[in-house]
């Protein structure tokens, strides 16, 4: 069904890029894995949250006395009475952008915002208690769209933010005006990009347990235990070290689980008040209306090219619907502007991004982090420009594409780039398809993505990633990382890097993650950072441990100093004479004795330095999607696809395939299924009947051509995979529609009605032309 091809493969490794089963696999396929959703502690209470029915209102009075009378209700908390009222946000470095009280004190800003939390002995009683809480509101005028929210007379959502402009971002290089002058052809378009729900299978949930010694333990489904620890310390006025976050198994994240949510905050506040464990699990509806979403955007983009297809200049202006709070939206605003230039060389480029507050649920990061929107607009416009100029769209892209050594002024230098070969593969595939049936067409789209962010808006004093490798006397290895496993396979990837480096087998390595008490701080799983950053830290830690072991081996071996030792497959040996060696375990035992009984401990850490503004490395990809369209109803069906992909050196073979296929399914959903309609600030499809997630019957083959490059900054040459591939698909579907019918759809997700409308307009235009 799926074809997997490798272009220019590297030298084989012992562990890296071999078929390794996910190390969490047995737990997951047997039902043994305990998610936060499954946690039950002695004496545990259940919490429920009363939410705002209004998009914008002042909280005047909260009366929960009747709720407290219900047998089984143990306590109630409100923002005013039970919290410090700390305004928090993940952009900790910038006070202005810390704008969210999880339980607001005075004012609610979107429908579904938490207002009161209740704990009771059963979930049912807690839910019932919500009906007995009276909240008096003064309803304020509300605004839902960014273009309305920036108007002079729009309601003010946050004090001091004129015209509701929350964040602005500007990127510019070269002389834009001059570069446009050089262009023979300039095209401008306005686009609209929808939101998207993360829709993790495990909804937001937390179990908090505060004990009289002043310590707080929280089981929480998240992407970054360290962030949770630090943010919770901030809002609760506690020390980070007194808070322990445990996130062993996490049922999906996709960018939606590394900010504070109502579940963790309210359960903690309730637990502190009641001194008992409190569990809060969001319903699916709560998970839709009261978490965050992919940022909807309005995109204006103007592009100038020469007759021969050489790109000259591009200018983009973007308004994003930020919703009620900042969250990670500020980063998405920057990254969308940066990736809107990808993966092409522009003589001059200018981007102005404006994140606008509205009275809708907050927008934030989601897999692709602003880039899917950027590519939706960029890759379609480029396709249209090629058509306008009568140029081959693949060749025009190829001509302008990044290459090794490309400098993006002031932003980045590209150290590895395999996109040229991606073009070859896609071209071959399209050619091999031959003539398609009349209702089918193939669309393509290119993009690139980062391998972890360089920015430190979180203001962490720690290294971005850290790892500790401990070698036991029997040759087993403990790998402690702060990196977070959320299903993407990071524990396995890191175990592979550790085993390869140390020269042991992957089953020798036990990975400890998802617990802040026992693992070093790490920024966690977001922005495609773990393979490169945590991978580098693990590699360094394993090298450190290995060096210590080899020092003993050298001391014992009596070998000529010109010989080098190495360890492979648990065999410590001279590289030049591999048969001369000794069993790893024996060497380790002696080495431990030599350290007066101390286990071998290696440490590693990684923080990017001198790698530009955005990321230490960039992946590249080109995707072709074949679609079939019912011209009479507008229904789209995906038929086939090929992704040509450069992630440097693949580390975790199965994990890579899974990430690429999975990203494609989510990206396809963004392209044509996952619309989020609002009416007066209310999400109209907050359930899985009305919110359409791609299913097995909709998923086409996801063929992969892996173009292996070597990324000097990555561990063993590795870089990002799995997030970036969320970027091209929507545009590829749009481009297929353009190929098929010559229609230009400027709004995503693409709906059947839009296609019919565009076809009708096209026919009318043609008739007028006659």
């Amino acid at each position: 069904m799926n074809k997997y091809t490798v272009i220019n493969p590297h030298e084989p490794f012992r562990v890296i890029n071999t078929h390794v089963r996910n190390i969490d696999g047995i737990a997951k396929v047997t039902g043994r894995a305990v998610y936060t959703f499954d946690v039950k502690l002695p004496g545990m209470l259940y919490g429920k949250i009363l939410r705002s029915p209004h998009p914008h209102a002042k909280i005047l009075k909260i009366d929960y006395s009747k709720a407290l009378e219900i047998p089984g209700v143990m306590g109630v908390v409100t923002g005013k009475e039970d919290t410090l009222g700390v305004k928090q946000g993940i952009w900790r470095r910038y006070k202005d952008l810390c704008d969210e009280q999880i339980l607001p004190v005075d004012k609610v800003r979107y429908i579904g915002e938490p207002v009161v939390a209740v704990a009771a002995i059963t979930e049912e009683i807690a839910e019932k208690a919500l009906d007995y809480i009276d909240v008096e509101y003064e309803v304020l005028p509300a605004v839902f769209e960014p273009m309305d929210a920036i108007k002079k007379d729009a309601p003010e959502i946050h004090e001091g933010f004129e015209r509701n402009i929350n964040v602005t971002r500007h990127i510019e290089w070269g002389d834009v005006e001059e570069a446009f002058e050089e262009a023979d052809y300039i095209r401008e378009d306005w686009f609209k990009c929808g939101g998207q729900a993360h829709m993790c299978m495990e909804t937001r949930c937390a179990v908090s347990s505060y004990t009289p010694d002043g310590k707080l333990t929280i089981y929480h489904s998240n992407q970054s235990p360290y962030y949770m620890q630090a943010l919770m310390a901030g809002v609760l006025g506690m020390r980070e070290g007194d808070i322990r976050i445990i996130s062993t198994y996490v049922g999906g994240g996709f960018g939606g689980k590394f900010e504070l949510d109502g579940a963790i905050f309210c359960s903690a506040v309730l637990s502190i008040k009641l001194k008992r464990p409190v569990k809060i699990v969001y319903t699916r509806e709560e998970d839709f209306i009261a978490t965050k979403r992919r940022t909807p955007m309005y995109y204006y983009t103007r592009t100038g090219v020469k007759k021969d297809g050489t790109f000259c200049a591009r200018e983009a202006k973007v308004f994003t619907n930020g919703g009620a709070y900042t969250g990670m939206g500020a980063t998405a605003l920057y990254l969308t502007g940066f990736f809107h230039s990808f993966p092409y060389k522009w003589k001059a480029y200018r981007y102005d991004g404006y994140r606008v507050y509205t009275n809708t649920l907050p927008s934030t990061s989601m897999r692709g982090f602003g880039a899917p929107q950027a590519m939706w607009c960029s890759e379609q416009q480029i396709e249209w420009i090629a058509a306008d100029l009568g140029l081959d769209p693949i060749e025009m892209r190829r001509k302008n594409a990044h290459e090794e050594g490309t400098i993006i002024p002031g932003q980045a230098t590209i150290a590895s780039c395999g996109i040229q070969q991606c073009f070859d593969e896609i071209k071959k595939w399209i050619d091999s398809k031959g003539q398609l049936p009349p209702n089918r067409a193939i669309g393509i789209s290119a993009c690139g993505f980062m391998s972890g962010g360089i920015f430190n808006w979180f203001d962490t004093p720690y290294s971005f990633s850290s790892a500790v490798v401990t070698v036991n006397q029997d040759g087993t290895v403990e790998l402690n990382v702060g990196a977070q496993e959320i299903g993407q396979g990071s524990n396995t990837t890191l175990a592979i890097i550790c085993a390869e480096t140390l020269g042991v087998k992957v089953e020798d390595v036990k990975v400890h993650s998802g617990d802040t008490d026992f693992n070093p701080a790490d920024l966690g799983a977001w922005g495609s950072r773990q393979t490169l950053m945590a991978g580098n830290a693990v590699k360094m830690a394993a090298e450190d441990a290995k060096r210590q072991i080899l020092e003993f081996a050298y001391a014992q071996s009596g070998l000529n100093i010109v010989y080098d030792l190495d360890i492979k497959d648990r065999w410590v040996h001279a590289i030049a004479r591999p048969e001369r060696g000794e069993d790893f375990v024996k060497v380790v035992r002696r080495a431990i004795r030599g350290k007066d009984g101390q286990r071998i401990v290696g440490r590693g850490y990684y923080t990017p330095h001198r790698k530009g503004m955005i990321s230490p490395a960039y992946s590249y990809m080109l995707q072709a999607v074949e679609i079939e369209v019912d011209e009479e109803t507008g229904k789209i069906r995906l038929c086939d696809s090929l992704t040509a992909h450069d992630c440097g050196q693949p580390i975790n073979h199965l994990g890579l395939i899974g990430q690429l296929e999975g990203a494609f399914s989510m990206a396809a959903g963004y392209g044509y299924l996952e619309y989020m309609p609002f009416e007066d600030g209310k999400l109209m499809n907050p359930n899985l009947v009305d919110y359409k997630v791609i299913r097995a019957t909709e998923m086409p083959p996801a063929n992969i051509a892996e173009v292996d490059t070597y990324e000097p900054e990555g561990p063993y040459g590795a870089k990002e995979a799995g997030e970036g591939l969320t970027n091209p698909t929507a545009a590829a579907i749009g481009n297929a529609l353009f190929r098929l019918f010559g229609i230009q759809i400027k709004e995503c997700p693409i709906r059947a009605e839009m296609i019919l409308k565009a076809l009708k307009e096209k026919r009318e235009k043609e008739q007028q032309g006659k």
């Binding site: 069904m1 799926n2 078929h19 089963r21 996910n22 969490d24 696999g25 047995i26 737990a27 997951k28 396929v29 047997t30 039902g31 043994r32 894995a33 305990v34 998610y35 959703f37 499954d38 829709m199 993790c200 299978m201 495990e202 909804t203 198994y249 996490v250 049922g251 999906g252 994240g253 996709f254 319903t283 699916r284 509806e285 959320i486 299903g487 993407q488 396979g489 199965l654 994990g655 395939i657 899974g658 990430q659 296929e661 999975g662 990203a663 494609f664 399914s665 989510m666 359930n687 899985l688 009947v689 997630v693 791609i694 299913r695 097995a696 019957t697 998923m699 083959p701 996801a702």
Partner: protein
């Protein structure tokens, strides 16, 4: 409302429960019997995370009252392995990486097993139809299809129980 004594046979064991009749089968399995392998991901019978087998056929345990399941043989994800040996479909999921976060995996595996129970040699499309009641947000499903195909091809021979 009158509580009921209900005997549920789960994975070959009779559990006697004293429950409110509105208790859903998934609640009985998770909260009363304590088998938390079976998950819940929605409230609208949409996601399939709670799929279990009833007399070998798949159902969503959030859409059935526990009292209605009396008298049936219920199999949950915990009931697939025999004496510590995984079922072929579990082995195949491991080999194909047919799960990522793993939250949908128990339900997905039960749906796959039910499909194979009644159709040991499904076509690719039959596999897709067989698992379309289950949402997986991570994998994009193709690896799951490959896993079912691998079992159907006889790659894993089942242990006789």
């Amino acid at each position: 409302m009158e509580k009921k004594v209900v005997v549920l046979n789960v994975n070959g064991i009779d559990y006697e429960l004293y429950i409110n009749p509105k208790t859903l089968l998934v609640e009985a399995i998770r909260d009363y019997i304590g088998l938390t392998g079976t998950k819940r991901g929605c409230d609208t019978v949409s996601c399939g995370a709670c799929t279990v087998l009833i007399n070998g056929m798949s159902i969503k345990s959030c859409s059935v009252l526990a009292v209605q399941a009396e008298g049936y043989k219920i199999t949950t994800i915990e009931g697939l392995e025999k004496n510590g040996k995984l079922a072929p479909i579990q082995e195949a999921f491991l080999d194909q990486g047919a799960y990522q976060c793993g939250f949908c995996a128990p339900g997905m595996i039960m749906s796959s097993q039910a499909l194979l129970n009644e159709n040991p040699n499904p076509t690719e499309w039959e596999i897709r139809e067989g698992i379309e009641g289950n949402i997986c947000r991570c994998t994009g499903y193709n690896s799951i299809v490959r896993a079912v195909q691998a079992v159907a091809s006889g790659k894993y021979t089942e242990v006789k129980s």
